[in-house]
């Protein structure tokens, strides 16, 4: 489903060059839930953002569903329709109501009829459990509710893959659960998911595979059991000791 080959992303600043992603090769299979963990600044968010073309690659290759993202003639907009993304800061459109947030891209990008888009939006709001808020503006919702709307907005495009960039990091602790619950449900339904998170509980419970990144490199990967109980690398052990 997703294949990255020696992926590199370098940010060139005035007085320093940062290798945010430094040669990551990974293969994510359909319906797999992959959780990427690592200390802050390890390049995990940058890696995720490369997967839907929000960051341009410095070198390497990404192939999503058979389409080479790094090829010049690839229309990224077509790829992005198939790859949903959920952001740390929700990024709901503040000038649109909850319903309009979910309807807009369906109409503009997928060219769906208004009735069809509305039906889909209401169905998804039901699914994420905030059907009664459809006419509210985002600012009137709690963080957890906003993130659930953001998930519904991404799902409305019928993506084949969902990317989550620290979806619960900006939430008050009591709201983390409701968002994770929606994500677990998605995983059960067989969605291909790549999740950058600090929620070790989620990784342990839901992930098929855990990737541990540090300083732009893939340090270790494995099943949650292996990863949390018998990590091989010294760097992984140190990190886990700090967070668990």
């Amino acid at each position: 489903m997703i294949k990255t080959v020696d992926l590199k992303k370098t940010f060139v600043g005035r007085d320093q060059t940062v290798h945010a992603v430094d040669g990551i090769s990974a293969h994510i299979k359909p319906s797999e839930v992959v959780v990427i963990i690592g200390p802050s600044g390890s390049g995990k968010s940058t890696y995720l953002r490369c997967l839907n073309g929000l960051e341009t690659l410095t070198s390497g290759q990404i192939i999503i569903d058979g389409v080479d993202l790094s090829a010049k003639k690839t229309d990224l907009n077509l790829v992005r329709r198939e790859v949903g993304m959920v952001f740390q800061q929700f990024n709901l459109f503040p000038h649109k109501s909850v319903l309009q947030n979910i309807v807009l891209a369906q109409q503009v990008v997928r060219k769906r009829k208004s009735s069809e888009a509305l039906e889909k939006a209401r169905m998804l709001l039901q699914k994420v459990g905030i059907a009664e808020k459809e006419n509210e503006y985002p600012i009137r919702l709690s963080g957890g509710q906003q993130q659930r709307v953001a998930i519904a907005r991404a799902l409305a495009m019928d993506p084949k893959i969902m990317l989550f960039d620290e979806p619960t990091s900006a939430l008050d602790p009591e709201m983390v659960g409701e968002v994770l619950e929606v994500m677990k449900q998605l995983a059960r339904e067989g969605m291909t998911m790549v999740v950058v998170t600090h929620e070790m509980g989620f990784a342990r419970e839901v992930a098929d595979r855990v990737l541990f990144m540090d300083q732009g490199k893939l340090v270790e990967e494995g099943t949650p059991e292996h990863f949390f109980t018998a990590p091989q690398e010294e760097r992984t052990k140190t990190f886990l000791r700090q967070v668990l």
Partner: protein
């Protein structure tokens, strides 16, 4: 903040200060030798125009038939000609059987006509409206060029903005009228409108640019991640939010434009300011007319700021 606290003593003080200022001004004008003639002003807004109808040939009035406000006068010529005229009943100047010579007045029709001040106000209004709309379009395009990734578009827009903001509007008007007007053969009205529009466009572009840049990056990323291309994201996500944020400075810019439009009087466009000057030459009521002209500009600008405030309130539903 407690706004319910008694504010009326302060309001009273405000009124007292304003009243004192007015009284002082009035006392000062008493000292100079100036006769106020406010009664001369209204006719320059609207006046009752009289059109006299002359007899076309020698002859006599055959019949006069009154039909309400209008009266029909039938005139028989000495050589057998016959013609009927219609005049206002209160403007009739002949009686039945009266002998007429060519050029004698049969009567008059009256109608209300807009005076020079009203015509000037109208000119200022549509001139500013046209320049605002064109200026908005120019500003929007330039603002988008200003934030684009293309270096040529960016440099060109910066060049335009710096050029316009760095020179006085008055000089620009002269260049548009004398130079471009001659070279491109455009009328003075077109020269005036384009100079104002291009002037406003430069400022609008900077406002739009600031507006676009004030929208968090995540908005564009969210739109792109849903598969929208840049124009779609701009139209549906970025510009509506930027417009909402920039409404107050945009309104200010267009209010300025209305006031700046008074400069077109230097290229002999009969706008409100030039009409005012013309009326003064025929009335010598200098003080009164300038006060009236100022009031009329104030009327236009305050209507615009009320409209802007209304739109702002409408857009505030998502706050």
């Amino acid at each position: 903040m407690n706004t319910n606290r008694n504010t009326w003593p302060w309001n009273l003080l405000t009124i007292a200060i304003l009243f004192t200022l007015c009284a002082g001004l009035w006392a000062a004008t008493k000292k100079i030798d100036y006769t106020w003639r406010w009664n001369r002003v209204p006719q320059y807004f609207i006046y009752h125009d009289e059109t006299l109808i002359p007899a076309p040939f020698d002859g006599q009035v055959a019949t006069i038939s009154k039909l309400g406000d209008k009266t029909q006068i039938k005139v028989l010529g000495d050589n057998g000609e016959e013609e009927t005229f219609e005049v206002d009943s209160n403007g009739i100047e002949v009686f039945e059987g009266e002998t007429l010579f060519e050029g004698d007045y049969l009567g008059a029709t009256f109608e209300w006509r807009a005076g020079p001040l009203l015509v000037g106000l109208w000119t200022t209004l549509w001139l500013s409206a046209a320049a605002s709309i064109i200026g908005m379009v120019i500003g929007l395009i330039t603002g988008l060029c200003r934030v684009s990734n293309n270096p040529t578009l960016r440099s060109l827009s910066v060049f335009y903005i710096e050029l316009i903001r760095g020179t006085p509007l008055l000089v620009q008007l002269f260049i548009f009228y004398f130079f471009l007007g001659t070279v491109l053969d455009i009328s003075r009205i077109m020269a005036g409108i384009s100079a104002l529009a291009i002037f406003a466009g430069a400022y609008v572009a900077e406002i739009i640019r600031a507006g676009i840049q004030s929208i968090p990056k995540g908005q564009m990323e969210a739109a792109r991640s849903l598969g929208m291309n840049v124009p779609q994201a701009m139209i549906h996500i970025i510009l509506p939010q930027a417009f909402k944020r920039t409404l107050p400075p945009l309104a200010g810019q267009f209010i300025s434009l209305i006031k700046d439009s008074s400069l077109v009087s230097v290229i002999a466009i009969t706008d409100l300011t030039k009409s005012g000057r013309e009326v003064i030459t025929s009335t010598f009521a200098t003080f009164e007319i300038w006060f009236v002209v100022a009031f009329l500009y104030l009327l236009l600008t305050s209507v615009l700021s009320q409209v802007a405030a209304w739109v702002e309130r409408r857009l505030a539903v998502s706050d």
